[in-house]
């Protein structure tokens, strides 16, 4: 519970005149769920994009699994054990639902310079892929084309792909957004069950979900991490109440 898996120091990113990320410090410890909350446009997705390596920070450092990864490309970070889910669903439209998760498993199963054996008949890939679909409740759609799924199902697939690998850190950007109540509840149970084996950085607007799952919370406003602490501390924090919690929670579903 004490070693930080992810350490972010003084991370900054500007877009023109906007400080999208403003000297952010945060840690994610082993086996914990850190929730990052904040109003629309606070810079949460921009933060994740920098952690995952898709966006280069202007300054600051990111350490993951004991090494500095600030300059590493996305695929190298993923190989070190970082998985990401996207706020805006990003899946393989032209492939089947199973293929989508199969690729996520394959990414962690050594190199893919294998030219002969059929991947879809490889139990080492299909079994974990099916298991991930089972976890999110999408197993009965395994053979369907990913393009044809409903919006909620797309969201479930997005999560399945993040879970399917052997990653030790999950960066989840509003995973429940767009899901029905039943699926949402299932996800909350699922994430709680994963806590022992994985660390999670969770971005979430729904405060019930946040307070149900988070071990610690970081509040972002205008690119700054204005407060960090246990849920009770955050709930009691005057600054947070004024800047964020006091106002009606802006959901963007």
């Amino acid at each position: 519970m004490n070693t930080p898996v992810l350490e972010v120091r003084e991370l900054s990113k500007r877009f023109g005149g906007i400080n999208a990320t403003d000297r952010v410090d945060l840690d994610v410890h082993e086996g914990e769920i850190l929730a990052v909350i904040g109003p629309n446009g606070a810079g949460k997705t921009t933060l994740i994009a920098q952690l995952a390596g898709m966006l280069a920070p202007d300054s600051g450092r990111i350490r993951f699994a004991g090494r500095d990864i600030t300059g590493l490309p996305p695929h190298a970070r993923a190989r070190l054990g970082m998985a990401r889910s996207f706020q805006i669903t990003s899946i393989f439209d032209a492939l089947s639902v199973l293929d989508n998760t199969l690729l996520a498993v394959q990414a962690h199963a050594g190199h893919s310079y294998r030219f002969w054996r059929r991947a879809r008949r490889d139990k080492k890939l299909t079994e974990p892929a099916m298991a991930a679909l089972q976890q999110v409740g999408l197993a009965d759609k395994a053979a369907a084309n990913a393009r044809g799924l409903s919006h909620g199902e797309h969201r479930q697939l997005e999560i399945a792909m993040a879970l399917a690998g052997t990653s030790k850190l999950l960066l989840l950007d509003e995973p429940m957004a767009g899901m029905g109540g039943e699926e949402s509840a299932r996800m909350v149970d699922l994430l709680r069950a994963l806590k022992s084996s994985k660390s999670i950085l969770l971005i979430e607007h729904d405060m019930d979900v946040v307070f149900a799952l988070a071990d610690r919370i970081t509040v972002m406003v205008d690119g700054k991490a204005i407060a960090s602490g246990a849920p009770e501390e955050i709930r009691a924090d005057e600054n947070v109440r004024r800047a964020y919690l006091g106002v009606e929670t802006p959901g963007d579903a």
Partner: protein, 317 residues
């Protein structure tokens, strides 16, 4: 959901391959050597189109320079022959190796770009290869290079025999199809198809997509150069004109017409395009215009090409 769908595509595949297989017997019986010649051209260009389909159809890498590899393969016959080296054991590996090397070097640069830029750079490299061979007087310049003997596999195959050469070509075509079918369904092929569909997602999953794409590009280049090796042998001649962008365009046409990203599509595309060219060029001087109109209609109205149309037949029945 229908329980048994008529296997239209499988039927067409078997019919086409069977026809190719028995054609030498038929043309001999009916004394139509012209047809055999036509079938040879179809099969060689189909082999090249199958290799293009690997990168274009499955990988989304629209190369506008694939004819360059046919040239490289053909010169790997002609240049050694010019110096008296006729051994197929030298020429064929040389063709494959040179094709792979050209793909590795140019792919390393091309694959850093996307979309239209990729198309333009592949075209530029192919044109460079074209002008390089035009400028080398020693090997015929733009008059081309005459190849007086086909590759020799002494004691194994007599490539000078039309029938034996014909079956060598058929084996290459079937081999190319089998190879691509294995590759695209293996782990490697999953990566290639994923990268076509959503490259950022592949990277965030942990795939170094550039390297996989480059490997794919090299495999396709080597295969196309093998088709070029067949082409040089077939014609006893190679002219740099056959590496020009119009021929690269023809290969793209075959893939798109037959159905990009379907295994057998490029073969159907090659067959239909060559028949169309034969028929239309005899009928009117405006035939390229008509071909162009057909291509545009396929792109606009039949995205899956001929294979897509056949698949639709299966579903309708």
């Amino acid at each position: 959901m229908q329980l048994s769908r008529p296997p239209v595509r499988l039927g067409v595949r078997l019919l086409v391959l069977l026809t190719f297989a028995i054609l030498p017997g038929l043309t001999a019986a009916f004394d139509q050597p012209f047809l055999l010649d036509l079938a040879l051209r179809m099969m060689i260009l189909a082999t090249a189109a199958v290799s293009l389909n690997l990168i274009l159809g499955y990988g989304g890498m629209i190369s506008f320079g694939h004819a360059a590899y046919i040239g490289i393969g053909a010169y790997a016959v002609g240049i050694p022959a010019y110096y008296g080296e006729y051994s197929g054991y030298v020429q064929l590996p040389l063709a494959i190796g040179a094709g792979a090397l050209f793909a590795l070097i140019t792919g390393f640069i091309c694959l850093r770009t996307k979309g239209v830029y990729f198309i333009m750079i592949t075209l530029a490299f192919a044109q460079m290869a074209y002008f390089a061979f035009v400028s080398i007087e020693e090997y015929g310049g733009d008059d081309g290079l005459v190849i007086n003997l086909r590759s020799k596999f002494t004691g194994v195959i007599d490539m000078e025999s039309t029938h034996e050469f014909y079956y060598v070509v058929l084996v290459f075509l079937v081999g190319a199809l089998y190879l691509v079918s294995r590759i695209v369904n293996a782990r490697f092929g999953m990566v290639i198809q994923g990268a076509k569909d959503n490259e950022p997602r592949m990277q965030s999953l942990g795939f170094d997509t550039f390297r996989y794409r480059l490997a794919c590009y090299v495999i396709a280049g080597a295969m196309a150069a093998a088709a070029g090796w067949l082409m040089g042998n077939y014609n006893y001649f190679f002219s740099p004109e056959m590496m020009s962008w119009t021929h690269s365009g023809e290969l793209i046409f075959m893939v798109v017409l037959g159905g990009a990203g379907s295994l057998f599509g490029p073969v159907l595309g090659a067959i239909v395009l060559i028949i169309l060219e034969e028929v239309l060029s005899g009928a009117t001087v405006y035939w390229p215009l008509i071909l162009g109109a057909i291509l545009i209609s396929v792109v606009l109205f039949a995205r899956g090409g001929l294979e897509g149309a056949l698949a639709m037949l299966e579903r309708r029945k």
